[in-house]
């Protein structure tokens, strides 16, 4: 339970960083932190006390694997989610660089041409 709680704390920290900070680099960091909090949460779903990696070894029976192996699906999901997170992160950084070239600032409150 404490692990879930810590994940929640991480998530809330990310959301705080995303909302309260004006620097767009810090916003990106906040968003990434929330992303990883969710990833940790998914990993925790597959957690199992005294679990082993869900890989078959030569001297192992099928029963032992099903009894002790952790759920492999959340790990696959997290891998996919990390890949997507990487794509999003590089997209954000690229836009951030371009924004800096145009506005010469990282302060979100000065990037305000769109109104209405």
């Amino acid at each position: 339970m404490i692990l879930y709680f810590l994940t929640l704390v991480l998530f809330v920290m990310g959301v705080y960083c995303l909302i309260a900070k004006k620097n767009i680099i810090k916003k990106i960091i906040g968003l990434t932190i929330t992303d990883y909090a969710i990833n940790l949460f998914i990993i925790l779903i597959g957690y199992r006390a005294n679990g082993i990696a869900p890989i078959m070894f030569k001297n192992m029976t099928m029963q032992e694997l099903t009894e002790r192996g952790v759920d492999p699906l959340p790990q696959a999901l997290v891998l996919t989610s990390i890949v997507i997170g990487l794509g999003v992160l590089s997209m954000m950084t690229a836009i951030c660089l371009r924004l800096y070239e145009k506005y010469k600032t990282f302060d979100m409150s000065e990037i305000n041409r769109l109104k209405g």
Partner: protein
């Protein structure tokens, strides 16, 4: 935006101190070997195309950091990275579509299923290798685009505006 910037004109010192260079020279082979190991054994042990490809891309990034961009770009230029990237993605979809001929999309059509045997997983190692190459090249291309070409972009944009 798509044009290649003039690298020779930049007045950056290339690479880091000899200590770093020596260490990287020792480590780089091991890094690449480890990356390929992760890719090729992806269907038997933890890892796979993405993890191994990230390690390989990190190898290229270390090369760039230690020896400067000229050497890294000689090993893999931005053009080559883009071509490998697209070709691997295209081949991946094509291999998946070959499955149609045998009954279903993404079907693992070659004979497969012997446990503990390296070449018994059908097309999965092929997918892993393609993904590994794609991740290597695209991560390195992203790194190049963000780090090296970033400072040229404003110059390029100015030039493009002058041309228009």
């Amino acid at each position: 935006m798509a044009t290649k910037p003039d690298l020779a004109s930049s007045q950056q010192p290339t690479g880091m101190t000899p200590i770093v260079k020596t260490v990287v020279r020792f480590a780089i082979g091991i890094i690449f070997m480890f990356g390929w190991y992760i890719i090729i054994y992806g269907h038997l042990t933890p890892g796979g195309g993405f993890a191994g490809g990230t390690i390989l891309a990190c190898g290229y990034v270390i090369l760039t950091l230690a020896f400067g961009k000229e050497l890294a770009l000689r090993k893999m230029s931005d053009m080559a990275a883009s071509i490998i990237d697209n070709t691997c993605a295209l081949l991946f979809v094509t291999v998946a579509m070959i499955g149609f001929a045998f009954g279903a999309f993404f079907l693992n059509f070659p004979p497969h299923g012997t446990p503990f045997n390296l070449v018994s997983a059908g097309v999965i190692p092929l997918y892993n290798i393609l993904i590994g190459l794609k991740v290597t090249s695209s991560l390195f291309a992203i790194f190049l685009a963000l780090s090296i070409f970033g400072r040229f972009v404003s110059k390029l944009v100015d030039e493009a505006e002058e041309e228009e």
